[in-house]
Symmetry: C2
Subunit: 533 residues, 2 copies
């Protein structure tokens, strides 16, 4: 062995380490702390490819889950919670039911407040039971996970991640009350970044900007009821003072289920990744039943109608109005509806208990999509280029509808106030007026024209965080500043003080000099005058 090759040893070792670096986490361990409901339907997408890449995946779920079920590509760890699956189902279904209750405004507000309070207490209790389950938490600690993948819509996952001292990847659509902006330190000027539930677009009138500012100022109060208990729970579990903002700041990478074909352009941060349309990827051929419906629809094609999984029934009067409108278009309507069939249902309308929404929307014979404008449905509409009639019901659905309407890709209806004629008119418009189809096709082209598929991107960033034990190089220094430092208030104060002092001293000096120069003369003059008198 020569001296030269000996000298190379540390370098070769380092190079080896470097080469090994990215593959160290091949066969890593990922803990998934999901949120039940439609949130889970997207979060589950990257799990199978991650498992195929050799990672062990453990999904934590309450034993009273609705959507989260056993799958071959992960280990499901269930934990006991103080409620039954039926209780949880009731919270979901009652959310859909309350939409159609025609109460006066104040009563609605009070009922909504009470419902949110009750439901969030229920969901919090699940989190509390998980975190106080000493045996389970100890076994999780012993498992030495590389990362936690979680939806911080209910910030239980961030507490688990911090308890385990494991970096977290956040996977979500968005958060209410600008918690996502706060958690990422992403600036969001209220002058053009519309707030959650504002129903504003990015181009606002003066009064819309006033409304947006008003929501901005008040949203921390609005969300306090749901979110602040998680801060208290975290403080107790982690044995240090924690706020919800601290929990949200823990995300190494934020994978957002949106993009700027759907959302309005706004400032973002380097650790935010966009995977809008991740739910459109898996397409299957239609089953015989649905193939038959579509084929029988003739030249006019079909309309797909679903108000999402939370709305199973509609008051009879409303259902009849809808059925009436559907009967007046020449298309075959496939309506996902589990309630009692309205008596006036026309021949062209087929009620089904479930429908393969994305596969149907992908069929060239689909002419329109009637949707509650949940984020999943909207993206399926965009991916497949189907113009929409939107009947937003709650949560972000009004904002989603506003985005599509602004782009001319659909028509929004108020499900409570609309008449049968309104629906008929809206349907005929999106089906027959070329602009709707053209606009949604343009959005579809833009959305699909991307350098990397959303699913691959999500998988990449989860693995990135696993490989590098976080993404600290993407963490802005803003997290380490107080609010007044962030806004440079101390610096501005200092500069103002310096400027004022300089002005004051200059003024005093000038005044002194003035007195010295002219004061004497004045006195001289005066004394001179007095002498002449």
């Amino acid at each position: 062995m020569t001296a030269g090759s000996q000298g190379d040893r540390p370098v070769i070792l380092l190079l080896l380490l470097c080469a090994l670096g990215p593959s160290v986490s091949q066969g890593g361990k990922l803990l998934v702390v999901p949120v039940d409901g439609s949130h889970w339907l997207s979060l589950v997408r990257p799990l199978q490819p991650l498992q195929q890449k050799g990672h062990d995946i453990v999904v934590l779920a309450p034993d009273a889950s609705i959507y989260i079920k056993e799958e071959a590509f992960y280990t499901l760890k269930r934990y006991p919670v103080p409620f039954r699956r039926e209780d949880l189902e009731e919270t979901f279904i009652s959310l859909g039911r309350t939409v159609f209750e025609d109460d006066p405004f104040l009563k609605r507000v009070i009922k909504t407040y009470q419902k949110i309070k009750k439901d969030s207490a229920l969901l919090l209790s699940a989190c509390s039971h998980l975190l106080h389950n000493k045996e389970l938490m100890a076994s999780l600690t012993a498992s030495s996970f590389d990362a936690v993948l979680t939806d911080p819509f209910l910030p239980c996952g961030p507490i688990v991640a911090q308890y385990l001292s494991v970096p977290a990847v956040f996977f979500l659509n968005g958060l209410p009350c600008s918690l996502d902006f706060q958690g990422t330190q992403s600036p969001s000027p209220p002058s053009y970044v519309p707030r959650y539930l504002s129903f504003n677009s990015d181009h606002m009138t003066f009064l819309q900007r006033v409304k947006n500012m008003f929501i901005t100022l008040s949203e921390s109060l609005l969300c306090d009821m749901v979110y602040s208990p998680y801060g208290l729970l975290a403080s107790e579990i982690l044995q240090k003072d924690m706020t919800v903002r601290d929990l949200m700041s823990f995300g190494s990478v934020w994978i957002l289920r949106s993009d700027f074909v759907f959302n309005f352009p706004r400032p973002i941060m380097p650790n935010i990744v966009f995977v809008g349309g991740i739910n459109c990827a898996s397409k299957k051929p239609l089953s015989q039943e649905f193939e038959a419906y579509v084929n029988a629809s003739g030249e006019h094609g079909i309309v797909v109608f679903s108000l999402g999984s939370m709305v199973s029934e509609i008051p009879e009067q409303k259902a009849m109005e809808i059925a009436d409108a559907l009967g007046k278009i020449p298309q075959t309507v496939l309506w996902r509806y589990t309630g009692t069939p309205p008596p006036n249902l026309a021949k062209n309308t087929k009620l089904v208990k479930w429908l393969p929404q994305n596969d149907l929307l992908g069929h060239p014979k689909t002419r329109a999509f009637i949707t509650h404008s949940g984020s999943h449905g909207i993206y399926e509409g965009i991916c497949n280029g189907v113009p929409m009639v939107m009947m937003p019901l709650f949560g972000d659905q009004m904002d989603n509808a506003k985005r599509m309407e602004t782009r001319g890709a659909g028509v929004t209806l108020n499900v409570l106030e609309m008449s049968s004629e309104d629906l008929e008119k809206a349907l005929k418009a999106v089906i027959n007026e070329k602009t709707y189809k053209e606009n949604i096709m343009r959005l579809s082209r833009l959305h699909k024209d991307r350098p990397i598929e959303p699913l691959d991107l999500a998988v990449f960033w989860v693995e990135f965080v696993m490989r590098h034990k976080g993404a600290s190089h993407l963490r802005p220094a803003a997290h380490d500043l107080t609010w007044y430092q962030y806004h440079s208030l101390d610096v501005i104060g200092f500069l103002l003080a310096v400027t004022l002092t300089v002005i004051f001293i200059t003024f005093k000096a000038c005044a002194f000099a003035f007195r010295k120069c002219f004061g004497k003369k004045e006195r001289v003059k005066k004394s001179h005058k007095s002498k002449t008198h």
Copy 2:
């Protein structure tokens, strides 16, 4: 033909259009308006792959260019300018020379001011000659380009693009005076986003934040001399009032030659793409000459030393100090130096007129890199994981060095003030202390761990803008607001006025009620009293 298939026609046509969409621009036309000097060395990278994808590329260059030359993969269109290539070379070389002139501070400031004034007038004259070249501009208009690819460091390209009504892709490292933040509408809080030439990191002390704020407040004045003439030129050519900010706002997509391994995390916008390290991709095996140097270096390996293409000579005293330090390390030093060899040059130091920097840095025997910390060199150091001794000379080089130093990947020296011992100590530190190598290797791993290669990303986004005639869906609404609207000053004023009015009215009403209730009693009491008297 059935009725059904007839009805499908418009849908099938639309689907066809959709499928054709992304490939319409295959065989598109791209106009490149580059900036000469090192800027060109990166901008040229995506041109060959773009040409291979079937696009016609026309590069516009003054007939007095230094770096921009004929190549097989583009058509070079030269235009006459009122200076010679030698004049331009002199501006570059004198920039390197002035660095070593040991003048008193005030004289340096005045000389720098005069030099910038003179050089920017020269470069502006090239732009003016291009824009007033009616024949050339007419032929460009007739060519119907799909997009303009340009470096807005000198904003001539944006004027050309607007004149031709063609979308522009900006390709750059960054802009002085926050023009890039302004152009993209990217917020940049001075509390943690260090300003150009501030030499601050993202974690600043109070006084550093004061300095950063001071630069923020004054930078528009500083850059006015260089940039405002382009606004005047644009106003003349485009026949409408234009500012530099308007020119910068014209970029559909901003391709930035950096990433967050090098730069500090800060807010970004959806139309900003990062391709840091795009210059590292093309690696070749070493020529026999350099292979021989490296092989002969033995166990200690080599050190690569270059102060960039603008510095060809160093004052003899400084060169001797450097040569002295280089002679005291056991490594072989390859020094790119075209000046007179210093008389004390040690045996281990080889002077070369040119060196294959990236290929040498990629050799496992390379132990350190002495660099002026230009952005290209820094990225070659990062890509190849070589710790650096940095001697920043001008422009963004001090800021670049600060970034690497903050990450513990190198040592910064003041080339004017450093002694021979300082250089020797710095070299021995980065070569022998493990942390420097470990830190640069960590940065290298993070930098290379990306879902898509920077060159592919640059090519994708240029083609995206060509395909979709811009990227209007990524343009933030902030561009359409006045400064007081953007900062919601009108809204805040309105809300304050409303609040004050409500307080005033409430106060007046209370006072009135108080007077009504108690005022009477008072009077009654008084009259009662007066009666009793």
